[in-house]
């Protein structure tokens, strides 16, 4: 069918990408729209969570931070659940989603996105093998325990665990010691790779010289720091929710006064207090870098500063200074620093931290497109809420929520095979 014929039909798919959710003000070039929308906000957010979760688990495995022992297993398994989700937003925003594989076939290495597949799969291999070494002993134990049992579920699990052992049934002390060593090495390699994976997401933006807001050599480092912050926060949050769940389960089963309830509650607060110290450290690093970037831009006041300033201090003031810096950084910072930490207070602080990092991604991705390349006009993004087409679903609120919900579903499934909670 010729283009004219399709136009004549007025087909619904004949949308100008971005027209739907972009409004323009003053002078913008005709072809300018918000091309990178909510999914590209989700992309660095999700990769950040993966990287952060992994770094958290490595702090224990590599640097032997004993206080993180209970957190380490959980965050490792959680980072596996997050892993496939880092790809999802990229896939969802492509205009030709079925060609996504082309990146693997003909990677064009001058592009920052081209190596994503490679970095990403390297990282996936590291996470998977580390989990295998951590859980190998458990797999073998399960195989022995389930042997000869009847019932479809048990049979299925039995064979699943047999496959998962990959034929390595040796659980002698020597073999276990080897496993431990392997975990340590993998975790050590994993840290730079995780940072690279995410710093790389920062580079995708930082290297766009056409965009006055994005172009900054600090971008990758800023992204890494905020990634670790968000990853730790999400791990802590999920940990709290699951422990509370267990606590309530025990209370219902055994009554409030039971000893095991106190054991759980005590263990929970202990883990959370210790982990929150690391969170604070990375939070400080992230904020310092972001402020440095801001001050530097204001001080050097290049040609683009006029429009940047009008966006940052004017149109996006609420998003940047109120929602991101105050509500997302300052408030949780104070909440975490105040003496006599309680789970409730940590919970609120963590939700705010996660929100703050999300706003940071939003302000980079959407904020970077809030002004015209002509520096003489503005664009506003109106996120589609109620979808009325595939595109408004994918690049709207519900698309983003789908992406956000997926890791929890995956974690629920994975956790059935590799249980990651102990509170002994």
């Amino acid at each position: 069918m010729s283009v004219e014929a399709i136009v004549a039909q007025g087909a619904e798919h004949l949308g100008v990408h971005g027209l739907e959710w972009t409004s323009k003000e003053l002078f913008t070039y005709p072809n300018e729209f918000i091309y990178w929308s909510i999914q590209i906000v989700m992309y660095p957010y999700m990769t950040g969570l993966v990287a952060g979760a992994f770094v958290l688990s490595s702090l224990y495995h590599v640097f032997g931070q004993q206080d993180l022992k209970n957190m380490a297993r959980f965050s490792l398994v959680f980072s596996l659940a997050l892993l496939p989700v880092a790809m999802m937003p990229l896939q969802l925003h492509l205009q030709q989603p079925f060609r996504g594989m082309n990146v693997m076939f003909t990677p064009h290495f001058t592009s920052a996105i081209a190596a994503f597949g490679i970095v990403f799969s390297t990282y996936a291999v590291i996470v998977l093998s580390e989990i295998w070494f951590v859980y190998r002993q458990y797999f073998v134990e399960q195989v022995i325990a389930l042997k000869g049992r009847e019932g479809i579920k048990d049979r299925f699990m039995y064979y699943l665990y047999i496959v998962l052992t990959l034929g390595a049934f040796d659980t002698s002390d020597k073999a276990i010691a080897k496993d431990k060593k392997a975990v340590k090495i993998l975790a050590a390699i994993g840290i730079p790779v995780a940072c690279f994976l995410h710093g790389y997401a920062g580079f995708i933006f930082g290297s766009v010289k056409a965009n006055a807001l994005w172009m900054s050599p600090l971008m990758p480092v800023i992204f890494i720091m905020s990634a670790i912050v968000s990853g730790i926060a999400l791990c802590m949050l999920t940990y709290i929710i699951i422990m509370e769940w267990k606590k309530w389960g025990t209370i219902i089963a055994k009554g409030k006064g039971d000893k095991s309830v106190h054991v759980i509650a005590g263990a929970e607060l202990d883990v959370i207090t210790k982990t929150s110290r690391y969170l604070l450290g990375f939070l400080i690093a992230a904020i310092t870098l972001e402020l440095l970037d801001l001050i530097f831009r204001g001080y050097t006041a290049m040609k683009s500063w006029d429009i940047l300033r009008s966006v940052m201090y004017g149109k996006d003031f609420m998003n940047i200074f109120v929602l991101q810096y105050t509500l997302g950084n300052l408030v949780p910072f104070i909440l975490l620093l105040m003496p006599r930490l309680t789970i409730k207070r940590v919970f609120v602080a963590l939700v705010l931290v996660l929100f703050g990092v999300f706003m940071m991604r939003w302000n980079v991705v959407i904020g970077g497109q809030a002004f015209s390349l002509s520096f003489a006009g503005y664009m506003h993004y109106h996120m589609p809420i109620i979808p009325h087409s595939l595109e408004t679903f994918k690049e709207g609120l519900f698309g983003a929520l789908t992406v956000a919900a997926t890791p929890f579903v995956l974690f629920w499934i994975i956790n059935k095979v590799t249980p990651s909670f102990e509170y002994k």
């Binding site: 283009v3 100008v16 990408h17 072809n31 030709q96 996504g100 082309n102 592009s111 766009v208 040609k303």
Partner: protein, 256 residues
């Protein structure tokens, strides 16, 4: 033959490495890139815009939209004409409604009356892809779907583009957009299908005032080349280092 597990692993590893090394010596090219690397290199297409001659009639935009099948009524276009009106108080009014397609026949700008006695200068600036010598768009394409031909034109392979939009973000001139029907990146091609057959681009052909011209920079006798060589010409936004190849006569500091 006895072969321990260790040997097997070792040999597999060696074999993989041995076969991977020579493979990695090849550069991976997308199909279109391969095609582009064979072409006539005695040609370097360049464009010359004389802003003094442009009257803002919009015929070039119309012609381009029809020639290149860009849906006529949608607000995207491969080329456009901007109007600049500068005021005595230093204020500037810039606009390009529908890319200037319908011609500038109204004295109002965005619905506002512009007092004629307050105007210091006014002019039109046609824009199109600069077919940069160092194209930022080509650099960032993750799959090599956008590429530069040997005669200097930057094209998009519609069968290979994944529609990531990275090139759209990377072009400092806002030239690119997604084609609403083909759903891939789209841009001005200097009417590559015409110029390689000895014709002029649609916009050049349709400009009644010769404000637009196309030429071959490698031919010293080309009239366009002569002007670029001998007269004072300028390019847009050279600070981005993309080395644009659309030259302008009569550019103003207010031009964005």
């Amino acid at each position: 033959m006895s072969c321990s597990r260790r040997d097997l692993l070792k040999n597999t590893f060696k074999a993989t490495l041995a076969s991977a090394l020579p493979l990695s010596a090849f550069k991976m090219l997308s199909p279109a890139q391969v095609k582009a690397s064979v072409g006539d290199s005695n040609v370097r297409w360049v464009f010359l815009v004389d802003t003094h001659k442009c009257v803002g009639c919009g015929l070039c935009v119309k012609a381009c939209k029809n020639e290149n099948e860009i849906p006529y009524d949608l607000p995207i276009t491969r080329t456009w004409v901007e109007r600049y009106v500068l005021m005595k108080n230093g204020q500037s009014h810039i606009e390009s409604p529908s890319g200037g397609r319908d011609g500038y026949t109204d004295t109002k700008i965005r619905g506002n009356d512009i007092p004629a006695d307050q105007i210091t200068k006014g002019f039109f600036v046609p824009k199109l892809c600069n077919q940069c010598k160092k194209p930022a768009c080509v650099q960032v394409c993750p799959v090599g779907a956008t590429y530069q031909t040997r005669d200097g034109v930057v094209l998009v392979d519609r069968t290979w583009c994944i529609g990531c939009g990275y090139c759209i973000m990377a072009c400092p001139y806002g030239m690119r957009f997604f084609h609403p029907v083909h759903k891939v990146a789209e841009k001005c091609t200097f009417c590559y299908h015409r110029i390689t057959k000895g014709m002029k681009t649609a916009c050049v052909q349709n400009c009644p005032f010769e404000a637009r011209q196309i030429g071959n920079l490698k031919d010293p006798n080309d009239p366009v080349t002569k002007i670029i060589m001998n007269e004072r010409v300028a390019v847009l936004k050279d600070e981005y280092g993309t080395k644009p190849q659309v030259y302008y006569i009569g550019l103003d500091t207010n031009v964005r």
